[in-house]
Symmetry: C2
Subunit: 235 residues, 2 copies
DNA sequence: TATTAAAATTAGGTATACCTAATAATAAAA
DNA sequence: TTTTATTATTAGGTATACCTAATTTTAATA
């Protein structure tokens, strides 16, 4: 409960690497993620490198060691299990769980987390659809990915969102995009990458590239071209 | 979640004042309670006095302001509700709950704590028998008190312990003192304040003054002299 | 009351986690 | 390839939370 800071650094690095699939994680990336300045981050990164939680050089950026990876996985795992518990067992709403889980993830008791995980029946995904890693960091397979990684012709099922601001949620309801809705991608604009979706009832709606990043979907079309590139989820 | 330190100071002061019934709480008291040195504590006390969480002068020692009291009550309340939840709902053992609750008490979500309190059915006491204060800090009435505050002739029911070390628990089992056992106080030694207990089956056992502080009991004898002095519980 | 013991306070030091401003190094673009 | 951005790094400063050692104050006791 005192390694708070370090846990948050490790989680941030994990999310940038695994979630956002960044090849190289930079000091600036971490600073942006945590809302800090680069000298602050650099200083901490150096001290964590001495502790062998990460490695750092300019070519490969910041990388988690085995040790650091284990800590990071644990935090992400706890976060997602708590989110699920809050949602399923304690009946919190979708939008409330993240903030509370952000605190609960730092509570250090393996027994506690395994107990609530057992009560939940060992789910593989949290209420946002994010995968729950096992203790070794292995993620369950998921078809889930952001809408932005689509191609024309994708047959999509809306699974969730990875952004919870009012303005974004309003945007979605104005466009009549809801959980479990289905759409086909009619056209992706060559210039701004906006997507024209078409529903079963032939309603069309245009989604900006920015919004598409935060809408989580699965493509139901077998062997769709969208499945060629590797898509994963984020926290 | 960053006011950790302050929350722990306020809790310590609350426990010294309300739990141990100290008239005057000193810098040294707090230092002992938190395992810190007096200059460290003094420095922090000064800064918290500026923030109006406490007041401090040499005559009346450290005192909680309305503000500081509210924070302290909240922490204690959360701690005891979590202990109850861990014990009753998540089936942790008596001895495990304290350490985990120590962390969970700092999770800041009124809604979370009220939800789990509701699930528990609004109990008035935690599994150690400690009273759960309401949001205003009002404690439920309890007959519970340490064995050390007994007089000769008390008819006692063992309710619990406020110390969980192996050595202490072994001490109790050697003396055949267990939960819900009943004893009468045959004699309190005038010199070392050790207590001679006598069970229904006429077995005698001698309990030292030190051990008596950590054994929680209720006196079943009406109008017993032990009830004259005000006795309360501690965390 | 003088002495001793205990508690509080002051002084000064360390480590951590932040920051700004300035400079150096690297990558991108003209 | 030179210029321009972007990143990284260094230097130096602040605040917090700790510490030890020394001193002062207060309380207890002889």
């Amino acid at each position: 409960m005192q390694s708070f800071k370090e846990e948050n650094y490790l989680k941030a690095i994990y999310q940038l690497k695994i979630g956002d699939q960044k090849e190289v994680v930079t000091i600036t990336d971490i600073a942006v993620q945590l809302g800090l300045k680069t000298p602050t981050v650099l200083e901490k990164i150096k001290s964590m490198a001495i502790k062998k939680l990460i490695s750092y050089d300019k070519i490969s950026g910041v990388q988690l060691t085995k040790n650091g990876f284990d800590v990071a996985v644990n935090i992400v795992r706890r976060h997602r299990i708590w989110e699920t518990y809050l949602y399923k067992e304690l009946k919190f709403s979708w939008s409330e769980v993240h903030e509370i889980a952000e605190q609960l993830e730092h509570v250090n008791s393996a027994k506690l987390i395994e107990k609530i995980y057992a009560i939940l029946g060992y789910p593989k995904f949290d209420p946002h659809g994010d995968p729950i890693p096992d203790l070794k960091g292995v993620l369950p397979k998921s078809e889930r990915r952001p809408l932005s990684k689509s191609v024309e012709g994708c047959k999509l099922l809306i699974l969730g969102v990875s952004e919870h601001s009012d303005s974004f949620l309003n945007y979605l309801s104005e466009k009549h995009i809801g959980l479990n809705d289905r759409f086909v991608i009619e056209k992706i604009d060559g210039f701004d990458e906006s997507l024209m979706l078409i529903s079963k009832s032939k309603e069309r709606c245009l989604v900006s590239a920015k919004a598409a990043k935060f809408i989580q979907v699965a493509c139901l079309k077998e062997n769709c071209a969208c499945k060629a590139s590797g898509g994963t989820t984020k926290a």
